[in-house]
Structure formats: C-alpha cells, structure tokens
Symmetry: C4
Subunit: 240 residues, 4 copies
C-alpha cells in the first residue's frame, strides 16, 4: 500500500482491535492518528465499540472537533481529548484514550504508577494524574471541550501517559504502533505493581538510566514490528 492515509487508517482500525483483545479498550475507548497530509487534522472512528472498527469507520476532524467531510455519522463525544493533545504536542502523531482496569487504582489514590519491568519503560518515569474536578468541579468526567482537553494536555506535558482520575488514561506517541505498545505494557505494569504492593512490598522501580535505555530499545523497528505482528496476526479487517 503506497497510500499513506489508507495505510494509517488501517493501522488505527487494527489498533482498536488489538487493544480490545488485550482488554485495554472496553466498549468505550478509542485510538486516533494525526493526518499525514494535514497536521492540523486527525482520524478517529465514528462512535463505535473498538472491536468492529474498520477503515471506513474513520472520520477526519479539525482540532475544534469539526468533521471535515460532512460525515453525518455520530462522532465520539471525547474526540476533544485527541484534539487537545495534538494541538499541544506537535511530536505526537497517535493517541489512545482508554479505561484499562488495572490503571484506574493509580488515578484514585496517592500511589504513583512507575515502571517495574523493562517492557513498560516507555510509560516514562513519573506518570502524572489529571483530576478534572480540580479545574472544572463536578462533571460527568467526560472530556468534552477543548478547555478541558487543553488542561489534560498540560498535565500530560512532554510525556506519553497521563492518568485521568476516576476515568482512565490518555496515551500519546509518535506512531500508532508505539501507542498500542505503551498501552499494553502500561496495563501490565499497573497490574504487576498492584500485585507487588498487595503483598506489602515496595517494588524496586527501573532507574532513570534504565528507563531511557530500555525506551530506546523498545521503540526500535525490530521490537515494534515483532509485537505488532504478533498481536495483529489473528485480526482480519473487512474486505481484505
């Protein structure tokens, strides 16, 4: 495939399905990618559970949440999360918002989610927690406006992961595959950290130097290709 938009849409569809099969996405999360043709646009599925998402379900949005082709199908209310992060972070080309269960406890306590094993190094050393109530008071916890999304993006700062109190998290990266990779091991790391803490032990975390070096290794094409190929091997998109 030499059409970069078609290839990207295919990756976004597969990403939704991989993350659903790993239990990272339930019926209500989503993955997006910045347009390779116009960096002020991004692609994301119409309002749909993640498992059936196909390239034809993707819509194209500006950062104010407007669909640019007049697609009448209802969009996700929380596409603002993606818009806010793309607007604040030119280096980010893909985003996932999810409610991965093992991540939730770190958003509702003072426990800090930190990498305990090398595969999770890309989550970064200090994962911030954004509490929508701090700035916006009582809400339904959904991030619906650019104001809210900009606040979230400010807490994300220059990292890959930001937790959302009582809600889930947002994960940003330079490629769809990097975002999927980080989501999978973020969830597993959270599980391992909880398991260790549940037996009354404080884990030894990776050092800053280890996080930096392991991140470099994990983002190399060979690793990224191996995990993506392994996770996508049982996925068949319609019309393929």
């Amino acid at each position: 495939m030499s059409d970069p938009v078609a290839e990207l849409k295919r990756d976004v569809a597969i990403a939704n399905r991989i993350l659903a099969s790993h239990g990272v996405l339930d019926a209500l999360g989503h993955v997006s990618a910045r347009s390779p043709l116009d960096p002020s646009h991004f692609f994301i599925s119409r309002s749909l559970g993640p498992e059936p998402v196909a390239p034809a379900d993707l819509q194209e949005f500006t950062f104010d949440g407007t669909e640019v082709h007049g697609d009448p199908r209802p969009p996700y209310a929380e596409r603002a999360i993606h818009a806010g992060i793309y607007a604040a972070r030119p280096d980010v080309l893909a985003v996932c918002h999810n409610h991965a269960p093992s991540v939730i406890p770190f958003g509702i306590t003072d426990l800090q989610l930190r990498p305990v094993f090398h595969m999770a190094a890309t989550v970064g050393e200090k994962i911030p927690v954004w509490d929508i109530a701090a700035e916006f008071g009582d809400t339904d916890l959904l991030v619906r406006s650019r104001d809210q999304a900009d606040s979230l993006a400010m807490t994300l700062d220059s990292g890959r992961v930001v937790l959302m109190r009582g809600h889930g998290c947002a994960v940003a990266g330079a490629t769809v595959r990097e975002v999927v990779f980080t989501c999978v091991y973020l969830q597993l790391n959270a599980h391992l950290q909880l398991q260790t803490l549940s037996v009354g032990r404080e884990p030894r975390y990776l050092s800053s130097g280890e996080i930096e070096r392991a991140t470099t290794t994990l983002l190399q094409p060979l690793t990224q290709e191996r995990t993506w190929t392994t996770w996508s091997q049982r996925i068949t998109l319609p019309d393929e």
Copy 2:
C-alpha cells in the same frame, strides 16, 4: 420488528447471553422485563442457564408467580425477586438477579460498594445490603416468597442495586439495556474497589454531583446503543 413483546423478548434473551459472556451470570442467574402490554406481568426465561436462553424460552408471570399461559416447563424458583421489585417500583421495567463474584465480598463485610470511576455511576452512591437472615432467620438464602422479595425490594428502595448477603445482588432499571450496563460496570467497579483496598488505600469515590451527571450521560441513547451493540455483536439467537 414492530412487535414490542417480540422485541423485548429478544432483548431479554440477548441480555442473558451478554451477561453470561461477561461472567456476571453463571449457571444460576436471570434477567426479566416487565410486559409492555400489562404492567402487572413480566417475562423471564423458564429454568435454564443463561447462555442458551432464546425468546421461545420466556414465560409470562403475574406478581404472585403464576405463569399466565399454562406453560408447563419448570420456572425459576427465584422469579419472586423480579415480582417483588416490579410490584414495589412502577418505574422499573427490567431486573437482573446475579451472583457476580466481585460483588460478593461487599455483601459479607462492612465494606461499602461505591463508584470509583465514571462508567459505574449508575450503580448509585450508596448501595444497600439486604440480609435475608435479619427477617427470615436460617434459610437456604434463596428468595422464594413474595414476603422475602418485598423485604428485598424495600431495601432496594429507590435505587438500582441491592446486594444480597452471602448470595449476590439484584439490579433494576428502566430498560433491559440499562440493567445490563449497570450489571457489567457494577462488577468491574467492585473489582477495582477491591484491588485498591488490597494495596491498603481507600479509593477516592465519585462525588454526588459526579454520580448524578455521569449517570445522565451514561443513560443517553448514544452510550446505551454503543455498549449494547458492542457486547451483542457476536451473539446469534436461534432462527435469526
């Protein structure tokens, strides 16, 4: 389908299968719906595990537990739970009784099950626990009589969820889909609350205002349609 009874029976059958696939229903729970033609009747499967339930398995009962069409197939002993809740709550049009594992610990301790993330807002702020022994002494814990069911419904009060000590819970709602939605996230919320407590932390719960606002959002057609469609997409009823 323009036949409201046929459509409702189909939803009840699918609800049984969705909740079985989520581990909410084991071999012994059930879902019912109030008749749209006669509000003093409700539909529920004959005695059957939840996975194979099809529309043709549904029977129609009065609130004293009598099958109205003379269907000779054995009914559930605990249809009284449904009768008692429908009798006490005209606003309730669907009910589920289940033994979802992660909910059980909250019925046998002083831990109060409360929403820790937005998807679980519909479970309500304070989930009561009904102990059959308080009024009826040593029993087999099944709710077999209207007396017992009326007592359970009184503890349910105006909420959507009531826990049953050493047994499970009952979940009530305005639609079959709302009940399925609440059951799925009740179970997940219980899991997350236990996980957080197991590392010695008290979770920050949703505020009253957040619960109210999130509930409104979650019960909107778009959310309800998305979850139902996602969860039912792999389910095929016989003769469809």
Copy 3:
C-alpha cells in the same frame, strides 16, 4: 440410554471436560464413579489429561488398584485416592481429585476454607486439611498406596471435601454431577474468601442452618440438572 454403566461412563467423561473448562482440573487431576453393578469397583480414565477423556478411556478397578479387564494402558498413579474413599464411605458414588489453584492457599496456611455464599454450601461447614507428611514423612506428595489413601479418607471423615497440603483436594459425593457442582463452587468460594481476606476483612460465613438448608436446595434435581446442562452444552464426546 438404558445401560447404567454406559451412562455413568459418559457422565465421568463429561465431568472431566467440564472441570477442565472451569480450570478446576489441569493436566493432572481425575474424576471417578463407583460401579453400579459392583460397589467394590470404580471407573476412572486411564492416565490421560482431562480434556480428551472419552468413555472408551475408562478402566475398571478394585479397591486394591487392580484393573479388572486386563486393560494394558497405563493407569493413574493416584487411583488409590479414589479406592480409599470408596472403601471408607459406602455413601460415596463419585470422587474427584484436583489441584484447583484457589484451594491451595488453604492447605498451606492456618486459614480455614468455609462457605461465604449459598452456592458453596455443599462444601460443608468445616473443611479438614490432610498433611501427608504428618504420617508418612517426606514423600513426593502423591497418594500412591491404600495406606496413604485410607489416612486421607479418615480425615475426609463424613464430609464432601478434604484439602491435601501442598497438593490439592479430594471431593466426594453421591453422584458425578454433585461432585462436579461441589468442585466448581469450592473453587469459586476459595477465590471469594481469599479476595475478602486480602482487603483485611473477615467474611461473614454461612451459618450451620444456612449450610444445611442451602445444601438440600442445591442437591435437588432441578438445580443439579440446570448446572450440568449449562456446563456441558458445548461438550461433544467422540462418536456422538
């Protein structure tokens, strides 16, 4: 089927498969049934993992472990467990030996496994733990001789369940279906009890009266038929 032996062998084969699908049996446990023709004989599979067991794999043994038809296929080393229990308990017509993971912690600590919800009432009020080392010193922990099995059966006493320290458990009952039922809910109850204890709470256990009444209910044909039918619906034996 009017042949009681054929019907029983079919039930034993299905029981192995149900318990494998529930994670109660791993590659190394087994189910047996006393012969309806000769109460001093029992049927159990030849040495085989539980998932592929078919009626043709069953062998017939005396209580000293001799195969009565000269079947040359290797038997289970631990068939002695079954022999010892049948010899000591004329009321027992079916036995399962398994290593269900959630049961193990109760055999290696002073925690007492007790029913916390009604579905587990058949496990009984006080589940004893048998430690092979107490009488036989350092062994490979397998129960290979009638001496060892008789000691285990003495600890089982008149109950349905006995835990084996550092090994697993044995479950006895009046029918294959009752044994399968007790195994499934024994495992789930152990999980729920551990989960409750892990958040620092002592569960409220069922009372003696509740255990007695719930056991009577659970062993009624309607309940037994419903669980068995639900759990076996996706199982197809060869040549059926």
Copy 4:
C-alpha cells in the same frame, strides 16, 4: 519421525505455542534446544512472536551468536541468554527465557520464590535473582552479550530457574518438555505464593526432601508425556 533434529525443531515450535497459550510467553520470549548433532550449537526461532513459530523458523547458532547456515532473517537480540547457559551447563539441553507476569514481583522485592505445591517442585528450593545492574550498571535490561549471559548463568548455578530483576526469568532443563513443564508450574506457583502472602500468611513450603522426591516423580516419562500431550493437543503446526 526418525530425524532427531526435525523432531527437536518440532518440539521447540510446539513449546513456543504451549507457553504462549499459557500466558508464559508474551510477544517477546523464546525457547531453544541444544543441537543433538553438535553440542556447541543450539536451535532457536528467528525474531518472531511465539505463537506462529514453526520448525522452518528455527535458526542454528554457535555460542558466540553466529548463525551457522547464513540465514539472513533477523535473530533475537537475547539469543545470548541461551548461549551463555548452554556454555556453562553441559547438562542443559533446552532453555526458555520469558516474562511470565506472576514471576516479576519476586525479582523486584526481597520475596523468595519457593515451591508451595508438588507440581512446582522442579523449580528447586532456592531460586536466585540476577540483577543486571549489579555488574553492568544502567542498561536496557536486555541480555545482549556473552559477558552478561555468562554472569546470568553463574547466578543460575546448577539450578533450573534464575529470575532476572525487572525483566523476567530463564528456565533450563534436560529436555524441551521439562523446560515447558517447569515454566508452567513456576508461573502458577508464583501466583499461589503471591495469593497466600496477600492475605497476610506465610505459606508452608515443600521440604527439601519433598522437593527432591516430587522432582523425581514429575520428571518421569509418564508425567512428562501426560502434560505435554494435554497441552499440545489443540496445536497444529503448518504442513502437518
């Protein structure tokens, strides 16, 4: 099959798939076997997730990591782990490196992983932990050089299992089947030990004598054949 290399390659491919289906291997672990024709060579898959590994994916390496047939397909970076263990341990004919989740907590705390039930006896009495940082400082935690692998092999010493801090473990054995067996029960034992510790109890561990005797039993052909056959029964390699 009378070709020992073909048979061994088939076992390595099946081993990868068994361990993937048990959750021992995620997208990034691997199994190898020493060549029966040249004890200074070993077979391991080219860089590939474990589920699709087939005999044709195996490459043959010397202990300095050179592929001996000029196969141009990219190899695993961590084939050094295998080389180091084979070089140090003439008795070892098969190795697995994996990131089994339940094992991780024992590498990042002072908790010692020890067998709590008989099936895990082959993991040995005292499982050492190797910390790459002790000798090599900040790294990406991958074992890429023979220096690092030799250090790991020295910590493994004469045992079957060595944990790798913040990374995973390496498991060595006399056959591919023994390694698969040890990996499966190592993971389960770690889970059971964590579960027991999470309720505030110290498990009673197997005694030295029990470990020795149970190991002898578990490595007998009958047990090894039963587990391997059970776990591999649903696996079909390409062209079979």
